[in-house]
Symmetry: C2
Subunit: 900 residues, 2 copies
C-alpha cells in the first residue's frame, strides 16, 4: 500500500497535477503555471520540482530524495509528448528553462538557467527547426555564460573577488571579439561570430574552471536544478530572507519548462500587458509588445514597444497588435478576460508569440497606483467578482495619500535628477521659490509668490511663515520634529532632516555638494518620497471629493471598521476640515499653539516673570477670554463629537525664545530690568527639555494655569450648551506618570467645573490623561482609578521607551536603518515589540480597575496603517491623527477589523 511520495508536478496539455493555491508546495510561479494550464490557457509544458525536495536536499547533506530522478525523467517524457519535441534529440530538440520559485517572490535572489538542452547534438536540429542559425548560436553562447557562472563556478567552490569571476572573463572575450570586428552592439554579431564565440567560451571555461562545459542535456538539467537549490542558501538569499522574515525551512521549488522564443522571426514577438489600466483602474486591456524580440528587449528600451490595441494606439504611428496579428490579439483578449475574472484581480501578464502561436508565460497580480487600486476594487464589487470586504483589503491605506495631496507628475519626475534626499515628513508635491525666514515667507506670499521655506529647523515662532509657504524643507530634525508635526497637521508638503544641505542664512544661500541655490530660486519637493529637485516639475492636482470610487470605498470601510477615528486639530478650521475627511471627534487639541498670538504670548511672558502668586494668576487670567473663544470655536465645529483638550504641555522657555533686543523691549513692557528677565530666561533653560519641566509638571507647580484652562473650557461648554449646542469636552492632562499627579490636577479641574456649573449652568465633561511615559503604562491600573480615559501619546512614549530624542536621531537613525539595527523609524511606525508591549500592558492594567475606560491614541502613529491595526488588536477605542491622515486611518481600521 506504500505510495511513493510525489516530488514532481506536471503541467502540460491543459492538465496540471497542481493547483493555483498550492504555493507552499509548488512555489508561486509553479502554482501560477499549473493554474493557467488547468484553465486551458496555452502554457509551454513543463513540471515543478516541489519545495519538499529542497527541504530534504538540505536535510540529507545536499542529496536528492530517492525516486526524484525517475519522476523527472517520467515528467520530461510527458513534456516532450506535449511539445512534440524531445530533450536532447538531434531532430526535434526540446530546450527548457530552469527557474527557482519560492512561496513568496524573492526577485533576483536565486538562480535561473535558460536554453538548457543545447548541445553539439541538438544545435543542428534547432537550426533546421528555427531556420535561424544566428538565433541558435546566440542562445548557445548565452547558455554557456550563464551555466559557467551559475552552476560550474559555484560547484568549483570559487569565490570571485570583486566580480572578477568567470562571467567577467567571458564578457571580456566577447568584448575583444566585438572590438576586433569594430562592432558596437551585440546584435552586430553574425551567426559565424557567435559560433566562434561559443568555442572561445568553452575553451576559457575549461582553462579557468578545469572542467569541460557539459555537452549532455541531462547533465545540464541537473546542474541547473542543483544550482537553484544551492542558491536558496546563498549569501544574498539568506540576508534577503532575514530582512523579509521568510523562514529558511520554506525552501524553493524548481520549475523546468519548455523554452519558447519570441525572436525566431517576423511572426514571433513578446509582450507584457495589464488586464486593466494600472494608472487609472479603467477596465481596458492595456499593454506593449515587440515583434521578433525577447522579453529583455521590451525592458531594455533600445526599441520602442508598440501598443497592444487600437484604443491604446490612438494617433500613434506604431501599429498595434490588434492590427498586426488580429487572430493572436483576439486569443489574447479572451485569455486576459479569463485571467482577470478567474483571479478576480487585475493581472500583469507576459506572453510570447512563437511563429504565430501564442504562449502565456506568466500571470500575477499587477501593480497599480492609488486611484487605480480604488477604482478596480470598487468596480470589481459591481461586477460581482469580489465582496466589499475584499475590495477594502485590495487598497493599501497609504495608497489614499496620492488622492489627498497634489503629487508630482511621475513621468516628469522620472526625467529629473534629484538634488538631495531627506525624510518624507509631509506627503505630496510642491513647487516654490526659496526663502530663508518665516517673515520673508509671509511677505513674499502676500505678494502672491509661491515660496518654500528652507530652515535648519523650525520653532513655534516660525509658524506664520510655515503657513504661508507651499512647503517646508529643513536640514535637521526627524519625522516628528516641529516642522514635520506642523506640516503634517496641515497636510502640507514637507521634507526634514535633509542633512546634505548646508544653509548659509546670512548669505541667503544654501548649498548641496557643489550646487548653490539662492533666495528666489525655484525648487520642487516630493514630500511623499523626501526628494528635492532644482527647478519646477509639473504637479497633478488632488480632488478626492470628486472621486466617486473613493467615496464608495470609504463608506464601505466605515461599515466594517470597529475602531473610531478622530483627528488632531487645534483650530476650528482644522476641526471643520477633519470632519470633511470623516473624523468622528478630536483626539488631541493642543492648547499651546493658541498662546502664540501677540497679546497672548505677552500674558504668558508676564506670568513667567511674575514674582508672586497673585501677579502670576493675574497675568494668566488675561488669557481666559482668548482661550474660551478658541474652545467655543472648536466645540461648535465638532457638533457634539468628543473634543479632547490637552492642558498646557511645553516647557515655559518655549515662550521666551528671543534675542537681546527683544529682551530689552519685553523688559520695558513688563516693567522689569533686562538683567532680571535674562536671569529668569537662564533659569528656565533646560539641558533636556523633553524630560524637563513640562506637561502636568507645569500644572502641578502652577495650578493657576490648569485652573484658567479648565475655566476657559467649561465656560465655553456652558455657554454653548445654554444656546442649544451639543458639546462634549474631554479634559486631558499630559505627561502623567503616577496616580498622584493626575489626582492633583483632577481635583483642580473638578473644582472649577463645579464652580462654572454653579455660575453658568450645566455641561457634560470627562477627565483623562495622556499615557506617554513608560511609568504611566506600568502603573496604569492606579492611574485609571482617577481617569475616565487614556490617550496614548506614542511620540513621547517612543522617545522615552527607546531613549531616543526625535529631534536628535538624525545623527544615527539613517545608519541604524541601513545596518538593520531597527526595522523602521519608530516615530513613523509604532515599535510593536517594545512600545507596543507597554501599550498592551497599559490597556490591560487600566481596564482592570476601570472596566469602561475609554482608550485612544493621539501620537503621530494614529495615522500609520500598521500602527492602526496594532491599536485595533490591543483593543483601543479610537485612533486620532492629523486631518489628512483620517481617511487612511479609516481604511486601515477597516483592514484591521477584516483581517483580525
Amino acid at each position: 500500500m506504500s505510495k511513493k511520495k510525489k516530488y514532481v508536478y506536471l503541467f502540460a496539455n491543459g492538465k496540471a497535477d497542481g493547483k493555483g493555491t498550492w504555493k507552499d508546495l509548488l512555489g508561486g510561479k509553479g502554482a501560477g503555471l499549473a493554474e493557467m494550464t488547468s484553465l486551458g490557457i496555452p502554457v509551454p509544458a513543463g513540471f515543478t520540482i516541489t519545495t519538499d525536495v529542497c527541504t530534504e536536499y538540505y536535510k540529507n547533506k545536499r542529496k536528492y530524495p530517492a525516486g526524484l530522478k525517475e519522476q523527472v525523467t517520467d515528467a520530461m517524457a510527458k513534456v516532450e509528448k506535449a511539445m512534440g519535441a524531445k530533450f536532447g534529440d538531434s531532430k526535434r530538440p526540446l530546450l527548457v528553462s530552469v527557474r527557482s520559485g519560492a512561496r513568496k517572490s524573492m526577485p533576483g535572489m536565486m538562480e535561473t538557467v535558460l536554453n538548457v538542452g543545447l548541445t553539439s547534438r541538438t544545435i543542428p536540429g534547432m537550426i533546421v527547426r528555427s531556420n535561424n542559425e544566428r538565433f541558435v548560436y546566440d542562445a548557445y553562447r548565452r547558455l554557456i555564460m550563464m551555466y559557467a557562472d551559475v552552476v560550474m563556478e559555484k560547484a568549483a567552490g570559487i569565490e570571485p573577488v570583486d566580480g572578477h569571476g568567470i562571467r567577467h572573463q567571458l564578457e571580456h572575450e566577447m568584448d575583444r571579439l566585438k572590438k576586433g570586428k569594430g562592432y558596437k552592439f551585440d546584435t552586430d554579431m553574425t551567426a559565424g561570430d557567435l559560433k566562434r564565440l561559443a568555442d572561445l567560451f568553452k575553451k576559457k571555461v575549461k582553462e579557468v574552471l578545469k572542467k569541460d562545459f557539459p555537452d549532455d542535456p541531462y547533465e545540464q538539467l541537473w546542474g541547473g536544478v542543483g544550482a537553484v537549490f544551492q542558491s536558496w542558501n546563498g549569501k544574498r538569499a539568506i540576508s534577503y530572507r532575514k530582512i523579509e522574515g521568510i523562514p529558511e525551512e520554506w525552501g524553493t521549488a524548481v520549475n523546468v519548462q519548455s523554452m519558447v522564443f519570441g525572436n525566431t522571426g517576423i511572426y514571433s514577438g513578446t509582450g507584457v500587458a495589464f488586464t486593466r489600466n494600472p494608472a487609472t483602474g479603467e477596465k481596458f486591456f492595456f499593454g506593449e509588445y515587440l515583434m521578433n524580440a525577447q522579453g529583455e528587449d521590451v525592458v531594455a528600451g533600445i526599441r520602442t514597444p508598440q501598443p497592444i490595441n487600437k484604443k491604446q494606439r490612438g494617433d500613434s504611428e506604431l501599429l498595434s497588435l490588434e492590427e498586426e496579428m488580429p487572430k493572436v490579439y483576439k486569443q489574447l483578449m479572451t485569455i486576459q478576460k479569463k485571467l482577470d475574472t478567474h483571479y478576480r484581480d487585475m493581472q500583469d501578464i507576459e506572453f510570447t508569440i512563437e511563429d504565430s502561436k501564442l504562449w502565456m508565460l506568466q500571470t500575477r497580480s499587477g501593480k497599480r497606483n492609488g486611484a487605480a487600486a480604488i477604482r478596480i476594487a470598487v468596480e470589481m464589487v459591481k461586477e460581482r467578482l469580489i465582496s466589499r470586504q475584499e475590495a477594502i483589503l485590495r487598497v493599501a491605506p497609504n495608497q489614499l495619500d496620492e488622492l489627498l495631496h497634489p503629487m508630482l507628475d511621475p513621468a516628469a519626475e522620472k526625467k529629473v535628477t534629484p538634488l538631495a534626499k531627506g525624510l518624507p515628513a509631509g506627503p505630496g508635491g510642491a513647487i516654490g521659490q526659496i526663502v530663508f525666514t518665516a517673515d520673508d515667507a509671509e511677505d513674499w506670499a502676500k505678494q502672491g509668490k509661491k515660496v518654500i521655506l528652507v530652515r535648519n529647523e523650525t520653532s513655534p515662532e516660525d509658524v506664520h511663515g510655515m503657513h504661508a509657504a507651499q512647503a517646508i524643507l529643513t536640514a535637521k530634525g526627524g519625522m516628528t520634529s516641529h516642522a514635520a508635526l506642523v506640516a503634517r497637521g496641515w497636510g502640507k508638503c514637507c521634507i526634514v532632516g535633509c542633512g546634505a544641505m548646508e544653509i548659509h542664512s546670512g548669505k541667503r544661500e544654501l548649498s548641496v555638494g557643489g550646487t548653490t541655490l539662492r533666495e528666489g530660486d525655484w525648487i520642487t519637493l516630493n514630500g511623499t518620497r523626501g526628494i528635492v529637485y532644482v527647478g519646477k516639475i509639473a504637479l497633478l492636482a488632488a480632488d478626492p471629493g470628486k472621486n466617486p470610487y473613493y467615496k464608495t470605498l470609504m463608506t464601505w470601510a466605515d461599515q466594517f471598521r470597529k475602531i473610531g477615528v478622530r483627528t488632531n486639530a487645534d483650530s476650528p478650521e482644522d476641526a471643520a476640515l477633519a470632519r470633511t475627511f470623516g473624523a468622528e471627534g478630536i483626539g488631541l487639541c493642543r492648547t499651546e499653539h493658541m498662546f502664540f498670538g501677540p497679546e497672548r504670548i505677552q500674558a504668558i511672558r508676564e506670568m513667567i516673570v511674575a514674582e508672586t502668586l497673585e501677579a502670576r494668576r493675574k497675568a494668566i487670567m488675561k488669557l481666559l477670554p482668548y482661550q474660551r473663544q478658541d474652545f467655543m470655536g472648536i466645540l461648535k465645529a465638532m457638533k457634539g463629537c468628543p473634543v479632547t483638550i490637552r492642558t498646557l504641555d511645553p516647557p515655559l522657555h518655549e515662550f521666551v525664545t528671543m534675542d537681546q533686543k527683544q529682551v530689552q523691549e519685553l523688559a520695558v513692557e513688563l516693567g522689569v530690568t533686562a538683567a532680571r528677565l535674562n536671569n529668569r530666561i537662564a533659569q528656565l533653560h533646560e539641558l533636556n527639555p523633553m524630560l524637563g519641566h513640562r506637561g502636568c509638571r507645569l500644572g502641578i507647580t502652577y495650578p493657576e494655569v490648569t485652573e484658567m484652562q479648565a475655566r476657559a473650557i467649561f465656560e465655553a461648554a456652558a455657554e454653548l450648551t445654554r444656546h442649544g449646542y451639543k458639546v462634549y469636552p474631554e479634559v486631558m492632562i499630559p505627561l502623567v506618570g503616577s496616580r498622584t499627579e493626575l489626582a492633583h490636577q483632577r481635583e483642580i479641574v473638578e473644582r472649577v467645573a463645579e464652580e462654572v456649573k454653579r455660575e453658568k449652568g450645566k455641561f457634560p465633561y470627562t477627565i483623562g490623561t495622556m499615557i506617554e511615559v513608560p511609568r504611566a503604562c506600568l502603573v496604569a491600573d492606579k492611574i485609571a482609578e482617577v481617569a475616565e480615559f487614556f490617550s496614548f501619546g506614542t511620540n513621547d512614549l517612543s522617545q522615552t521607551t527607546f531613549g531616543f530624542s526625535r529631534d536628535d536621531i538624525g545623527s544615527f537613525l539613517p545608519e541604524y536603518l541601513e545596518k538593520k539595527i531597527i526595522p523602521d523609524d519608530p516615530f513613523q511606525s509604532l515599535d510593536q515589540e517594545g512600545v507596543g508591549q507597554l501599550m498592551a500592558m497599559a490597556v490591560k492594567k487600566g481596564r482592570s480597575t476601570r472596566k469602561n475606560l475609554k482608550i485612544g491614541i493621539c501620537g503621530e502613529h494614529g495615522g500609520d496603517p500598521r500602527s492602526v491595526e496594532f491599536c485595533h488588536r490591543i483593543g483601543l477605542d479610537y485612533v486620532s491623527c492629523s486631518p489628512f491622515r483620517v481617511p487612511i486611518a479609516r481604511l486601515a481600521a477597516a483592514h484591521a477589523a477584516l483581517t483580525k
Copy 2:
C-alpha cells in the same frame, strides 16, 4: 458560656492584664506601660481602652460598645485602690491623664487631656493633699484650656479660622491678666491670679462655646476618651496615616493613667535618661533631671537640667541626682538596668519623683547616632543579649555614613543659623574658602588653602578643580547631576541644587537673599543634610578603620549577606580605595573620564572632525596606549576580581565644549578652518543630549571606537595574564535597547578578542550590557541571547521611565516632594513600583533565555539601602556603588538577607 468581650486592660500594683507584645490591641504606649508594670517597676496605675473599641466606635456610628462603661468604672475602682485615692473624691482625689496610643507612634497627631478629675469638689482636697494651692490652680487652668480646645470646641463642630479658636481666646485672657499685673513669665502668677484666671476661663468658655465647663469628673473623663477616638479620624491624623501607610482600621487605644507630679515641691522632680550613652554607645547610664519641675520644663530650656550621676557631672557645679537623692538614684539604676536587659536594647526612659517617690512614665528604644548604634549592637552580642543577626538589623545602613566621612559637630552646628539649603549630594562636612572656578580651586589648593568650589553647575572640564576642593556647592542640578556623581564617587562633601543662591561669577560674588559672600570668604557645608553655613563650624574626624565595633559588625554583615557588593571606580586609586571598603569587584568603570587628559582630548577632537574613516581611525588609535595603561592599572588593582568596563557613553559634544578662542587654537592644531570646526561643533549640538547620539549608538556609527577600546582592554588583559596576574574584564556595552544593537557591538568585541589572543596570548572575558532604557527591559529575553551579563543603569532607566531629566528636575522636584506627588527623589531611592517593575521584568525575561545570566546594578541606587534590599529581593547577583557607599551596601545586603 458567653464571655463578655474585654475592652479595658488594667495595669496596677505590679500586675497588668496586657503584655508588652500586644501592641495591636493596646497600642505602643499601653503595651509598654503594661510591660513595665509586670516587671515590678513603679508605674502610676491606670488602664488601656483597646484599639478594638476605636474600630467598633467607628463601625457603630460613633457609639461605644455595650459593657465598656462598666469595664471602665470597674478598672477605675482598681486604680483608685492601687493609688490610695478616689476619682472625684473631695478628700483624696485621684487625677488622671487621657492619652492616645496607636500601634505605631504618631507624634502630635492625636489628642491628650491631662489633670482630668479636677472639679470644684476635688480642688480643696488636692490643695490639702499637695499643700500647694498655686500648683492646684495652675493644673486647673491648664485642664480648662486643654479641655475646651480638644473636647468642647470639637464637639460643638466649630472649625476655628486661622487658629482663632477658643485656645487663642483663652491665651488672650491670660496675656491680659499678666499685662495688667506687669508679669513677664507664667511663673510670675500667684495662686490667687491662677484661681481668678480659671474663673475667667470658665466664663469665656461658656460665652464662646455656649456650654459650661464640666464639673463632673466622669463627664471630663468620657469627654477626653471621646476626643482621642475622634482625633483618630482628624484631618492631621488622616493625612499622616496616608503618608506613613498606616491603615485606617488599626485604630488607636486610649490610656487612662493616674497623674503624678514632679512639681509639688523640693522633694519632687522629673527627668529623662538613656540606659547607654546615645552619642558613643558606651554602657553608661546617662541623663538629665530638674527638681520641682514638670516634663515640659526640662525641654523648655529655661532652667539648666542637672546631670544624672557623678560620672556624668565631672567638674560641673550642678549637683547630680546620685548626690541629691541617692536612694532614688539607686532605685533608678536598678530599674534602668532591668529595662536595658529586658528590652535588650538601649532605652530612653522618663521618670517623675513625686514627694520622694519614683515613678516611671515611659520606656522606649532610644535614638542614637551611628557610632553608638554600632557599639551598642556589638556589645549587646558580647553581653549575650542579642544575636549577631539582631545586631546587624539594629544598625541602619545609612548610619554608617557618619563613620565614613568627617561630620559637623552637632553641638556647634545647632548654634548657627543656616544660610541656605540644597540637595545633600555628597555626605559629610567641609569647611573652606569660596572660589568660583576650577582653576582657582586648583591654584588656591596648591598654595595650601582649603577651598569650596561654588558653581552654577559643573562639567567634565571642572574635574581638576573639584578634586582640589574640600567640597562642591552648585546652584543647579539634582542628586545625579555631574557634580553629585563625581563628588559621591570620591566620598567628597557636596551640595547641589541650592536654588536660593545667585552666582555672579564676573564679580566673584554670590548672594542668598540679602547676604553677599565674596571669593575667599569662609563657608561650612553639611553635605549629609544639604545645609550651607557662613563661617567655620568645628568638624569631627572620620576613622572607621580604627573603630573595632565597626569592623566586627561588617564582618558579621558579610557572613549573612547573599548578594555581592562591587564599586564604581574609574581609576586604580579609586579601585584600591574601594577594596579597603570591602568591594568585591568593579561594577562600573567609565572610560570617558579617561579621555579628558590634554593629549587624549586632542585625539578625540581630531577624531570628531575627521572627514574620512581612515583619518578617524588614525585619530582614535592614538588613544590606544593611554587606554591600555588605564586598564592595566585597574585590572591589576582588583587582583582577579571582575572589572566591568563600559565602552564610550557620552555624546561627542561633551568633548568639544569650548569658547571661540579655544576653537581658533584647536582649528590651527587640527589643520582645519575655524568655520569648519564651528560647523562640526554646531552639527554635534543636541536638543536633548540625554536621549541623543551616545552609548552604543556611538559604537555603532563609529565602530572604530569600540574596536580601539576592546583592543586596549584585551591587550591589557593579555599582558597581565602573561605576567602571572589574574584578571577578569567584563566588557559592557551601554544604552542598548534591542538585541541587534548588542549583537552588532558584540561581533566587534569578539573579533578583536580573537585577534588579540592570536597576537598576545590568552585571557578570560565576558560581554554584557547595561540595561538603562525601558525597551531593554521589555525585550530582555532577546538581549540576553547575546549578553553574558546585565547591569542595570538605574540613573538613566529612572530618567526614561519617568521622563525626568535629572539635570532639570530641580525646577519641580522640591514641589513634588512637598506636595507628596512622589514619596522620594527617584534618583536617590529606587522607584520600586515603576522602575522596579521594569527591572523585575528584565530579570525574569533575561533568565528565561539565559539561565545563568549574571545581573547587577551600577546606578547610584546601588548604594541606597532600600534599593539594595529591593535588588536582593528580585534576585540580582550584585550591587555596585561609589567606594564610600560600599560598607553601606554591604550592611544593607545583610539586612535584606535577614529580613527576606
